[in-house]
């Protein structure tokens, strides 16, 4: 919250600085003039009313004043923040949400989508040099795939419901009117609250399952410096997960935990946390979620149309060995050494397809 206030003032900084310098120059002691002025004491008659209103405004409350403010009053009404007369941060938070969060949120999400489109038009699909070989290697087992899709579906649901609540007033109310949007917003809110903890559980399961393979290792920095093979033609190296995947993983885990925890604070008002904590949680929750959604667009793009041969890994759990060599050469080498490569015929058999006619056997998969 502080950051946003400061940034607004930063724009004024050059102007303020120059004014300050001019003032400094003028106020430099000039010989002969300064001593002639007699210093006059101000009238130190304290206004007793001022004290009261200072207390009423509770100006001396800290940012987390609602937690431990000693300027709190007392009230016979016992409820959250009932002792606080004026919450200083409320309006600040409201303005942050309405003027900055919604505007910049829309701009960044839209910007990312345009960026991806431009990238696709410029670079096209990143293909494997020499094409796919048809020989496959096992990458993710069924539990890992289930976990990925549970997380993905829950994330999508939460993103859609959350963005509905964030942007709905600006985008949807003009289209559908208050009554209909209210129904949608209510269902979004209830669904969001219910699915949130499932997201936390799947993030934790994800953390447990994949943490070992995602620790940064040697060679990850060069991957980053080469732009992950997306820019230019130079070949990049990677282990089971490459640098980009690892970074996405840690982003999901860390921001996922952050938005889960702040979400739990928002969703359980029964612990009596004050408004200031709720406001801060909301800021963390919204900002984190927007970052995660923006980056997830990139992830979805790369997983589907962005790179050749990637989507199979989360559908069947197998990837083409040429794909592995292109993106994860060290892991591919390991697979070669351990002789884990499955031929196209074997792969088709494993997928329950007719091995003789594996090209278009998907349609024959059943009822034959």
């Amino acid at each position: 919250m502080i950051k946003f206030v400061v940034s607004r003032q930063l724009r004024l900084l050059p102007g303020l600085l120059s004014v300050f310098l001019v003032l400094l120059f003028i106020s430099l002691p000039q010989p002969g003039i300064a001593d002639e002025h007699q210093k006059v004491e101000g009238i130190s008659n304290k206004n007793p009313g001022a004290d009261l209103w200072r207390n009423v405004r509770q100006r001396d409350q800290e940012l987390l004043g609602s937690l431990k403010s000693n300027s709190q009053g007392s009230s016979q009404v016992k409820s959250v923040d009932s002792k606080m007369l004026i919450n200083q941060q409320g309006d600040l938070w409201a303005r942050f949400r309405m003027e900055q969060l919604i505007k910049y949120g829309m701009m960044s999400l839209g910007g990312i989508l345009i960026l991806i489109l431009v990238f696709y038009l410029l670079r096209g699909r990143v293909n494997i040099d020499g094409g796919l070989s048809g020989n496959m290697v096992h990458r993710f087992n069924s539990y890992e795939r289930v976990l990925h899709w549970v997380l993905a579906l829950v994330f999508l649901f939460l993103a859609i419901t959350g963005l509905t609540l964030l942007f709905g007033r600006t985008l949807l109310i003009p289209v559908m009117g208050h009554e209909l949007f209210s129904v949608i917003a209510s269902s979004s809110k209830e669904g969001h609250n219910l699915f949130g903890p499932i997201f936390l559980v799947s993030v934790v399961l994800m953390l447990i399952r994949f943490v070992k393979k995602n620790i940064y290792a040697k060679g990850d920095l060069t991957w980053l410096l080469k732009g992950g093979g997306m820019i230019g033609k130079s070949h990049v190296t990677g282990g089971f997960f490459n640098m980009g995947e690892k970074s996405w993983y840690w982003l999901v885990i860390l921001i996922g935990l952050l938005i889960s925890i702040s979400g739990l604070i928002l969703v359980s008002p029964n612990f009596g946390q004050g408004r200031v904590i709720m406001e801060l949680s909301h800021v963390v929750h919204a900002a984190g979620a927007l970052i995660l959604i923006a980056v997830s667009f990139g992830h979805m793009y790369l997983g589907t149309v962005g790179t050749e041969g990637t989507n199979e890994s989360m559908r069947t759990g197998y990837v083409d060995i040429s794909w592995a060599e292109a993106h994860h050469d060290r892991w591919a080498k390991e697979c070669h050494e351990k002789q884990l490569i499955v031929s196209a015929e074997q792969y088709a058999k494993l997928q329950g397809r007719n091995p003789i006619n594996s090209e278009d056997s998907l349609s024959l998969e059943k009822n034959q």
């Binding site: 069924s142 289930v146 209510s186 809110k189 903890p197 499932i198 059943k366």
Partner: protein, 213 residues
Amino acid sequence: MIANLIDGLLWNISLVVFAVGVSWKMLSIIFAKRPVDLSVARASSIPGAIKTVFTRFKPAAGMASRIQMKIVAGYMFHLGLFALMFFAAPHVRFLDNEFLGFSWTAMPHSAFIISAQFAFLGLLMLWLYRVLDPVSKLISTTGDHVASILTFVVMLTGCLALLESFSELRLLHRFSVELFLIYFPFSSLMHTFTFIPSRAFTGAWFGRRGISS
């Protein structure tokens, strides 16, 4: 208009289809002709039948480690759904008003939500396993997918209507329940009722031969 249809006619139709369908199906299973068991009875079949109904709640020893996820997810889903169906406050009220005329203690709201979360996570995992695992994908019929998705839709519309203040959302939930009830007798959802007799049948067959299972 649509509200009246969903609350009135369609609701009655779905209840009739459900009741008639389930009882017809159960009766036809119970009274189906079975081959005469020519084996010499080594033991009474009844204890075996009763025992097997319960022993099948536990995965077979050799399978336990292989199907860990399905066991955990399966129990999460079924127990969660059971708690939701019979102990959620709106459901208890509904059953009281529409059918029973008496009620029991409902779960507090937070427990209701937590059991819903268990049920959702379980169902999601199970359905995704069905789609992603090549073997279960092959042995799943369209009916299985429809049953999973219908159950999911019923639960989802229910959770969207949690604020209990928009009649549209309540109607949506009720409509999905009606579709579910109509589909129920013609699908694998019948396992709700058939799982006990089928286990008992197997158990009786084993019991008669003195097989401990």
